[in-house]
Amino acid sequence: MFVQRGSSRSRVAIAGALSMGLVFGLSACGDSKDEEPGTGATSLAAIDCTPYKAFGDLTGKEVSIYTGIVTPEDTPHKESYKPFEQCTGVTVKYEGDKAFETQILVRAEANNAPDVAFVPQPGLLQRLVQTGKVKEAPAEVAANVDKFWGADWKEYGSVGGKFYAAPLGASVKSLVWFSPKEFKDSGYAEPKTLADLKALTDKMVADGKKPWCAGINSGEATGWPLTDWMEDFMLRLSGPETYDKWLKHEIPFNGPEATKALDAVGEYLKNDKYVNGGYGDVKSIASTTFQDGGLPILEGQCSLHRQASFYAANFPKTAKVGPDGDVFAFYLPGETADSAPVLGGGEFVAAFADRPEVKAFQTYLSSDTWANVKAKVSAGWVTANKGLDPANLQNPVDKLSAEILLNPKATFRFDASDLMPAAVGQNTFWKQTTAWLTGQDTKTTLDKIEASWPK
C-alpha cells in the first residue's frame, strides 16, 4: 500500500516538475532576446570621442565592473556606458551584487578582483588600498576631479595622501519627506531654520497630528538611520570643522558637542508627542523597517520623515513624487537660513588594473560628459559633479538634490559612520543608538561608543 501511494505521488511530483521546468524554460527563451536592442543607444546623442583617442585603439577590449548597485538602478548605469562603448569599441561588463562589500575584499585577497569597483564607503576604500591591489588614479582622472569636484570629495577618494578613486554618484541625506498636499491644505511652510522646523512640528502637534515617522530596522544594520540623524545634527549644531574632528576621533565621541547633537535628536525621536505617526509610540521606531518608515505619509498618518534622496524608490509606483505630487522632500534646514550643511554619501571608482581601456573608462566616468549622459537616463540618481546640468535630471527629487549639492553655499560632509573605524561606524554606533532609542540615556550611550573606539 505504502509503496503504491508513494509512486503515485512521485508521478504527480514528476509531472509537476516537468511542467514547471517547461514553463521556465520557455519563458527563459522568450524573454532573454526581447530587451537586447538597447533603447539608450538610439535615444542618447553621440558624445565627443576625442578624450579617449589618447588611449590608443581599444577596439575589442573589455572592462569589468563589480558593484553593489543592482536592480533597478543598474539599468541606467549600463545605458550610460553605451556612448563610451560606441566611441572606443570597448565592451563594459557589469556585475551587480548586493554582497559587494564583503565579496570585494574576498576577491581582492584572492587576486580575482574586477577591473573597476564602485566602492560606496571611503572606509572600505582604505581597506581595499591596504590589500595593495588598488591602482592609483591616472592623471586624466585626477585632472577631471580637480575640475569638476570640490576638494572635500577628492579627499574622500584618497588614502594616505595618494589619490585612488574618483567620485561617481552621490546621495543627499539631509532631506525631510512630506506631503505637498497636506502642507498646502493646512497652510504649512517649508522651514528655513532648525527653529522653524521645531515650530512647524509643534504646530502640527497642536493640530492633533503625530508629525514625525521613522523606522530604523534594517536587519544586521539596524540603527543606521539614527546615526544619520545624529550626524545631521552634529553638523548643524557644532559646524563642519568640529564634525571632522569628531569623526577622526580628535575630540572624544562622548564630548559635549556629541551630547548636544544626540539630545537634539532625542527631542524629536524620543518624544511620544512627535513620533511615531502611523505606527505607535517611540519604541515602534526600532521595530519598523527603514523601508516602511516614511510610508504613512501617503496615508496622511504622518507628516514628516527624515531620510535620504534614495528613499524616493520606496514609495509605491502609484504614488507621485514631486512638488505637486503625493510626496516630496525639503532640505533639512541649517541652524540659520544662510548656512547649508549637507550630509550625504556616494560611490567611488577604484581600479584594480591599469590597462589603457580601464584608464579610458575611468576618465569617462569622471567627466562631465558621463554625468550628463547618466542624468538623462536615470531616475533616483545624482552626482556632485559640477559639470552636471540639473536640467538633465529626470526626477524632481534628483533636481532638488542636485540644487542642494551644487549650491555654492553648501558645505558637504560624508556620512561619518562610513568614515569611522568599522568597529564603531558599522557596529557600536548602530547598536548603541538603537539601545538609546529604546530607553538608554544619552550619556551611557555615548560613553559606550567612546569605549569601543579601537585604540
Binding site: 532573454s32 543592482v70 536592480t71 580575482n112
Partner: protein, 304 residues
Amino acid sequence: MTTEAPLTTAPVGGAVKKVTTPAAAAKKKLSSPWASLAAIVIAVLWTVPTFGLLVTSFRPEADIKKTGWWTFFSNPLVTFENYEAVFGAEEGVNLADYFLNSLIITIPSVIIPLFLASLAAYAFAWMNFPGKNLLFIVIFALQIVPLQVTLIPLLTFFVDAGLAGTFWTVWLAHSTFALPLAIYLLHNFIKEVPSSLIEAARIDGAGHVSIFFRVLLPLLTPALAAFGIFQFLWVWNDLLVALTFTGPQISPITVQLSNMTGTRGTAWYLLSAGAFVSMVVPVTVFLLLQRYFVRGLLAGSVKG
C-alpha cells in the same frame, strides 16, 4: 505483503506479546490518537509560514508593504504582478535565466561527490591498505573544518589554475565540502553489508570492480539517494559558495533572489514570489525521494 504476515499474527497470547519487535511497538505507540493529533498540530504549525508566503506572493505590492498576509481573507485581492516581475526583464532580473544555472551547478555537484565517496567508502570498508585507519580518521576529522575558512584559499587556487568564472569552481568547491560526510556515511552503510555476500562474490571470481558495481551498488541505492537529496538541497539553497565563486553569467537562482530586492531592499515584496519559484525544484526532489530520505537518515547511525 507476505513479509508483513508474521507481524499481524504475532500478538496472540501474553507470552508471545513480549516477542513483539521494537518496530511494531513503535508503530503502535506512534499511531495512537494523541500522537496523530500532535503530528497534525506540528504539521500545521510548520506549514503556516509557508502558506503565508504563498498567499503573500499573490498580493499586490501596496498590500504586502502595509498589512500581514492574514488580512488577505478579509480583503482578497489577487494579482500575478509579482510573478510577472520576477520573470520580467523590466525589473532587471529574470529568474528563469538563472534557473538553468542552478540546475547546471547542482546536478554535477551531487553526482561528483556521490561517485567519489561511494568508491572511497568501498575502499575503506572492504580493502586493506597501509594507513587505512589513519586516513579514515583524517577524512572524518575534515568534517569539522568550517567551509568559510577555505573560501579565500580556494578562490586563490581557482584563479591560479585559470578556472575562475567557470562552473568548475562551484562544482569542485561543493564536491570538496561534501566528501568527508559522504564518505563517512556511505562507509558505515557499506560496512553493514554481510561479509558473506562479498566473500561469495569473490569465490565466484569477482574482482573489486565487479563486487562494487554488481553486488554493492544495488544495495547502496537508499543510502545514495538519501545523501543525494541532502546534497541536492544544500547546493540548491547555497548562497555563500555561489557568491564567492560564480560570476554574473553563471550565478544560481539564490544569488539573483538576493539581488532582486534592489540596491536598498526597496523591492522586498518580490521575495515571496521569487522564493516560491526557487522552491519548486527542491520540493519536487524531496517529494520524489522522501522515502529514501527517512530510511537513509538512519543509515550508519543505528547499529544493531
